[in-house]
């Protein structure tokens, strides 16, 4: 019962974040919403593991969290410097 309450709350969180990701005026709003969706999905995975009586879902949650942060930083670097291979030295030398 308590896991169902938490799971429903997390589903509402996911829906609201999804609305912001589709509405967001700038790309950074969408990225922030994607980050929140990633956190809520990690929590939802762990709660679902307890809900089904199979806590092995926690491994999936950890892997999903690692993938989420790598994805966020990759997209962020692309939108910050316009190049995935750029280093900070190159950026300082550019006119």
């Amino acid at each position: 019962m308590m896991f169902s309450v938490a799971a429903i709350a997390l589903l509402v969180t996911l829906a609201l974040s999804l609305a912001r990701a589709s509405l967001g005026p700038t790309v950074f709003d969408r990225l922030q919403a994607a980050n929140t969706i990633g956190t809520a999905a990690m929590l939802l995975l762990s709660v679902l593991g307890f809900l089904g009586g199979r806590p092995e879902f926690l491994d999936l949650a950890i892997v999903y969290g690692l993938l989420n942060v790598i994805g966020t930083f990759a997209v962020l670097k692309y939108f910050r410097s316009g190049d995935l291979g750029a280093t900070s030295d190159q950026k300082a030398d550019a006119p």
Binding site: V12, F28, A33, L76
Partner: protein, 109 residues
């Protein structure tokens, strides 16, 4: 499992779900990108922390609790880093806070 641990787990899970919803509502309703980022951090700190604490109380002293602890540690370190990088990148791209005081305004005493 004693009734006290059960009740504490209930309270943590429900409060964590509540704070997750509050953070997402702020993410949807706030007027500015920086205020939205501020609201979204509620999900990463209080919401995730309380839900993981409730699950940890359910799990007891097992390997599952250790995995939940490492999941919380991951969120604890990674989410402020991502938020900081996001704020820095948006400032570098010229996004200004909506309510920032103007420099040419006569707000100086």
């Amino acid at each position: 499992m004693s009734a006290l641990v059960e009740g504490l787990s209930w309270l943590s899970l429900v409060l964590g779900g509540f704070f997750c919803m509050v953070g997402a509502l702020g993410l949807l309703r706030m007027p500015d990108f920086f205020t939205r980022m501020h609201a979204a951090s509620v999900v990463d700190t209080l919401g995730a922390g309380l839900i993981l604490l409730g699950l940890m109380l359910q799990a007891g002293w097992t390997l599952v609790a250790v995995k939940l602890f490492f999941l919380g540690l991951l969120i604890f370190f990674v989410s402020p880093t991502a938020t900081h990088a996001l704020a820095r990148a948006s400032l570098e791209r010229g996004l200004k806070p909506l309510l920032a005081p103007r420099e040419d305004a006569s707000s100086k005493p």
